[in-house]
Each structure stands twice: as C-alpha cells, then as structure tokens.
C-alpha cells in the first residue's frame, strides 16, 4: 500500500495538478521574498569597510553558488530514483534541474566575475571557486546536451541519470583537487573563507536572500517540470483535455 502512494508521487499528472494549486500562493511568496531580500541587501545593508558598495553583489552571487551545487545533487538523486523505480516524473525533474543548473552556474560565474573586477582588478581569476563553478557548468552542460542529442527520450533519461550519478562521485573529488591545486599555486592570496566574520547587519539579508533563492529555484523547477510534462505527455488524454478551448491559459502556466 505504501508503494502505491510512492508511485502516485511519480505520476506526472498528479504532479501537474497538485503543483497547479500550489503555484497560486507559492509564486507570490517567492517574488515577495526576492524583492525584500534584494532591496534589503542592495539598498539598506551597510557599506563594507574594505570593498565599498561592490560587495553587495554577494546577495545575488552567493545564494546562486549555493544552489548550483545543491541542484547538482538534486538532479542526480532524481535521476537515481528514476533509474531504480522506473518512474517518468523524476526524469523530468532531472532534466529541468539540469537546465536550471546551467542557468544558476552561469549566473554565479557572471556575477562572480563582475565582483572580481573591482576586487581583484580582473574579470577572471584562476581562483579555486571560479574553476570549480566552471567545471560544474561543464558537468551540467554535458548532461543537457547528452539529453538533447539522444534520439529516444527514454534512453536519453537513463544515460543522463547514469552520467549524473557518476558525476556525484566525482564532484567532491573535483572540488577537493581544485582546492588543493589552488593552495599549491597561490599560497599568498586573499582568503574570503575561514575566519573572516560577517556583521549581522549583512548576514541577515544574506540569509534571507538564500531562502528567497531556494524558493526561486523550487519555483523555476516546478514551472520547467510542468512544461516538460506537457511536452512529453502531449499524446495522453488528460493533456488533450487541458488543451481544449477555454483552458489554454492554464497550459501556459
């Protein structure tokens, strides 16, 4: 009986209808959190003593970095569930997470280099975290591209899941080795991590931004997955019923 419940969780239609109801209140909350977090961080948090106003990009940059990494594991876990229990929905979530992951890592890299210019005087520094984010972008891209070039959807899902799972073993190794490489080559550079403390007046808006980003990530994941469901289930009766006149506006959601 418990398994029946679990398999209903894997049904695209169930997900589509359930999230359709959630979105009504979840989307406004996410937008509100983002607006409050950004306004607080960008306009009201105090100016940094060393970096001036340029540090404020941390409110956009840092939560994106956190989610890029967390998203990789979410993607791999979704792929693993799809492989083990042979369900369709987790694969759709996996694909959505890969595409969104590309966007978030790209955002992290871009904001990082914008922040790097006033701080280090260059847009690209061979910094451990920079390189790691770039590699993470490659990992996401390889999964998105592999999924697109495969002729058969089911096969594409399975191979992407295998690649994502092998990637999870590798991500910590890549992280550690890049970090190690960096410590060998740049012994005397500025370190932001570690003991440098952050004043509560900056920390609270940062925490709020992280929460807002988590909501934003979830929201985009839900929206993309819903779109993916419609595309893949286009031939089923329940999607056909959605597309009938009078209900088009729901389909776009």
């Amino acid at each position: 009986m418990a398994w029946q419940w679990f398999h209903r969780l894997g049904s695209p239609r169930w997900f589509y209808e359930k999230t359709g109801r959630w979105l009504v209140w979840f989307a406004p909350i996410t937008i509100a959190l983002l607006v409050i977090g950004f306004t607080w961080g960008l306009a009201f948090a105090p100016v940094d003593a060393k970096q001036g106003n340029s540090y404020r990009i941390i409110f956009i940059h840092m939560p994106a970095a956190v989610l890029s990494l967390a998203g990789y594991y979410l993607m791999a876990i979704a792929g693993g569930i799809g492989l083990i229990w042979k369900m369709k929905l987790p694969f759709m979530v996996m694909k959505s997470a890969a595409v969104i992951g590309v966007a978030f890592t790209a955002l992290t890299l871009i904001t990082g280099s914008l922040w790097g210019y006033p701080t280090w005087g260059t847009f690209w520094e061979w910094d451990a975290r920079n390189i790691f984010m770039l590699i993470l972008l490659f990992l996401y891209l390889s999964i998105v591209l592999l999924g697109q070039v495969y002729p058969e959807q089911e096969a594409a899902d399975k191979v992407c899941a295998i690649l994502a799972l092998v990637g999870t073993v590798n991500v910590p190794i890549i992280y550690k080795s890049v970090d190690w490489w960096y410590s060998l080559h740049q012994p005397a550079s500025i370190k932001f991590t570690g003991s440098s403390s952050i004043h509560p007046s900056m920390l609270y808006p940062l925490l709020l931004c992280i929460v807002a980003y988590y909501c934003f990530y979830t929201l985009s994941l839900i929206l993309y997955t819903r779109q993916e469901i419609l595309a893949r289930e286009a031939r089923t009766k329940w999607v056909a019923a959605l597309v009938e006149p009078g209900t088009e506006n729901r389909v776009k959601g």
Partner: protein, 222 residues
C-alpha cells in the same frame, strides 16, 4: 501435427505488449503465445516495428506496456533466459580482420560454448565455408559473412532463435538449407521467431502481422 501443437505448453508468451519509439506507438496490446516447436514469421510494412519486437523478445529493449514471459517468468534481466536465446540482428557480428574459424570460435565462446575442431568444421561445411576456414573475413562477400554468423545455428543448443532478416544476401540454395534447419529446430521442440521479406515454405509456419496491432488513436491529436 496440429493436435500435438495444441497440447504443447506455451514457452514464449507475449502478454499485452506495447512498444513506443520516438514518441510513436508502433504496436499495442500485442498478444501471442508460442508453444514448443513454433516457427513464427513476423510480418509488417517497413517501420511497423518488426525489429523493435525482436529486440524486445530478446530482452534488449523494455516494453512500454505488458510483459514477455519465458516459461512463465519475465525475461528482462533473466540469466536463465539469455542462456536459452540465440539472437542474430540484421548486422553481422563478424570481424573483418579475424579468420572465418576465429570468428566462429569467438561467437561460440561468447555464447558459452567451446567448439571442437571437428564440430566447427562440420558447421562451416553446412554453410559451404569449410574451404575458407583460414580466410580473413574481410575477403569474403556480404552473403558469406552472414553465413559465418549463421553457422552458429548449427552449433546452437539454444531453445529460442530470434533472427532478423536472416535470408538477406543469401543465395537460393542457402535459403532452402536455412529453411530446413528451421524446420529441424521446430521438430526438436525449439522456437524460432524471424522476420523476412521472402515467402517461406515451411509446414506449420505461423504468421504474426504487426499491422493488426497498430494503435487506433496514434495520430488523433499529433
């Protein structure tokens, strides 16, 4: 003959199988039972899913719906089943830079069979290749290469033969001999599932036409 067949237990059962490729349903609700001693020819127009069905029967592809049973057990990931299948697709697994004998030996080795010299030469003689046993396969014609692979059938102890277009590039005499072999296999109680564009002359040959299992609503709102 027909009395014996109906009394035989069903060995290969296709239960409500549907296959979807590239978002297109090839066939749906396919039902068929093969008792011992069946030679089944799968028919259908190009692209009807003959090869897909054969791949599914060999356990290489998952079915979208339904299941295939071998002696009452699902075939996917079953060691006991793969040990009883001989599959030959439309590609010929023969390496150009190995000799005829090496290829024969290697293919048998993959099936878990060690071939003695005499046994191997006999099999090659059945496909008219005994004189070529030391020749490199790159020097053979397409039909000869296929016959190197088909020689496995004379060594095979497998119960279920799945052959995709086995008569391609085979001359008239070879076709007749292969038909004889299929009949012998059926008389031994084996099952053979084949696709072919040729009309076969086998007593008791069964036909399965995939056009009968086309989905009705496949293109309703494409």
């Amino acid at each position: 003959m027909s009395e014996r067949e109906t009394a035989e237990p069903v060995e290969l059962a296709i239960n409500g199988v549907s296959c979807v490729r590239d978002g297109r349903t090839l066939f749906t609700q396919l039902e068929y039972n093969c008792p011992r001693g069946t030679v089944l020819q799968v028919l259908g127009f190009n692209g009807a899913g003959k090869t897909t069905l054969l791949n599914a029967l060999a356990g290489l592809l998952p079915c979208s719906e339904g299941e295939i049973l071998w002696r009452g057990h699902p075939i996917r990931r079953s060691r006991a089943f793969t040990a009883e299948v001989f599959y030959l697709g439309h590609q010929v697994p023969v390496k150009p830079s190995l000799t005829v004998w090496e290829n024969l030996h290697w293919l048998a080795r993959l099936r878990g069979q060690a071939v003695a010299a005499e046994q191997g030469l006999q099999a090659l003689a059945q496909v008219d290749l005994d004189a070529y046993h030391g020749a490199l396969c790159r020097n053979l014609s397409a039909g000869q290469k296929r016959r190197v692979a088909l020689a496995q059938l004379y060594l095979s102890g497998e119960r279920l033969w799945i052959l995709d277009e086995p008569f391609t590039a085979i001359d008239k005499e070879g076709v007749a001999r292969l038909q004889d072999l299929l009949q012998q296999h059926a008389e031994r109680g084996g099952i053979a599932v084949i696709t072919s564009h040729q009309a076969l002359e086998l007593p008791g040959l069964k036909n399965l036409n995939l056009s009968d299992y086309q989905p009705l609503d496949a293109y309703d709102y494409a």
